[in-house]
Symmetry: C2
């Protein structure tokens, strides 16, 4: 039933969605828009979109499904601008990494019978670097796509059907949908996504201070060091919005890790160290 | 010139050395000993050793090069027992992860013209799980093999030649030798190896406490979470000895990371966050 999709933001995620839709057999139109048009043209050359639009609002109005694949604050800006110009024949969905603020805006601006539907989404997929040229048709295969949909949304039958159809395309891209309350979402990703990222950033920044002057010594760390610092390459531009829109939960998670590291440090020569290793082993076994 | 090697300890590293020597063209004898003989037999079946010895001391006396591939305290025990029974026709070397204590024992017990040579070594290679069955002929390819040799060692010409020849075999296994002072070695590996491990352990143990009861939620974290907790599977038996023999340097590194995490936590909404990401990006760029 979906025949016209607009992807606003052809970075890594937007481009990968276009490629994954094509790989899953989607035959309709895909229009791409990007703040810098060169990146939309890269997505077009890769086959992720079949046309490039210079006007995001026009591309959105012409589509049935509008995928917002831009940073969180840019997503909120688009939501404000799109809500008055779209109608019950549209679905807007997003890929933002925090969902409380976006879901609140969705309830305020969308999801009435006259307005477009808004489905807050968050594919748990990415790479440590962004950009259309890294787009990958298999990026979502075997991953989880979180939705924080509003159970009280009052949608037109048409836009409700678009929601159902988009969920089917997400499954066709190889991703498993999990539905969560927005606040629970933000709490959960603080632990399993944001904490690992900020830990890798702190560890990489610390090691740059300690051994950065002797880069040949990085080889000494081998695979374990490379792995524990790979996310150190993540761009600030993406994580700034996450830090701003999930501050409390991230603070709690970071403080808990600081305390856990201190506990381990104080027990390097006591039986507690064994317990900590056993607890860690358990996390990896399940 | 090396024609008879004894590998004492056929775990992951000992077995991998045997396989890597064969792959590099070593044609001499390799005898394996292990505390539990079944694991030595696995190494034999894999072709890492061509005979299994039930008596480590006898195997050592019959060899020219004795590779100690057991945990650190077991290495120290072997050094005490081997020193009086070996002579200037032998070289003892090891793979222990900390080198200060082992190098001190080496200077005390070996490296006189009448005694065996002792060459403290530390291949920066491993897997998150141990065992002969994970032995891998390519484990050392592209890695670094640290040596903390004593520049004042007074060796017989014969055992000095064995040291030179062993270094050539290390290169043939695909590993690059780096020579370091023992104290500098322990300080360096505290940063680039022990800190990443203990961070992964603390992070995994914390996440087990926080989301362990809902294992389906681990999928949410995706690749980033898997990577940042892979080392959580590391066995306590290996890391206990490291924690005991490099306590001060590991404590300093852990405390520094706690402070860096707190700094990041206190600055989630300030320009400092950008600086931390840039510093982390720099570590990954070089």
């Amino acid at each position: 039933m979906i025949e016209r999709i607009a992807i606003l933001g052809t970075g890594l995620l937007g481009t990968s969605v276009g490629l994954a839709l094509r790989a899953a057999g989607y035959r309709g139109a895909i229009t791409g828009w990007n703040r810098s048009v060169e990146h939309a043209q890269v997505a077009e050359q890769m086959g992720a979109v079949d046309s490039v639009s210079m006007d995001a609002m026009e591309a959105a109005r012409a589509a049935q499904v509008i995928l917002l694949a831009v940073p969180i604050y840019a997503t909120l800006d688009f939501m404000e601008k799109l809500a008055p110009t779209l109608g019950s024949e549209h679905l807007v969905t997003d890929v933002g990494s925090t969902k409380r603020i976006i879901s609140e805006a969705g309830a305020r601006l969308f999801n009435t019978p006259e307005r477009a539907a808004f489905l807050p989404g968050h594919p748990m997929a990415g790479k440590e670097r962004g950009g259309a040229e890294l787009g990958d048709a298999n990026l979502f295969r075997g991953t989880v796509w979180l939705f924080t949909d509003d159970p009280n949304a009052k949608r037109s039958p048409h836009s409700a059907a678009l929601v159902k159809s988009w969920r089917e395309w997400v499954a066709a891209m190889g991703s498993k949908a999990i539905d969560l309350d927005p606040a629970r979402h933000d709490e959960l990703v603080a632990w399993v996504s944001h904490l690992p990222q900020f830990t890798a950033t702190a560890l990489s920044a610390l090691l740059e201070s300690e051994v950065g002057a002797a880069p040949e010594l990085k080889d000494v760390g081998g695979r374990a060091l490379r792995e524990m610092t790979r996310l150190g390459a993540s761009p600030f531009s993406l994580w700034r919005d996450i830090a701003y829109t999930n501050t409390d939960a991230v603070e709690r998670a970071l403080l808990a890790l600081e305390q856990r590291l201190a506990y381990l440090r104080e027990n390097l020569r006591t039986p507690v160290l064994r317990e900590e290793f056993e607890q860690a082993n358990k996390f990896r076994r399940e």
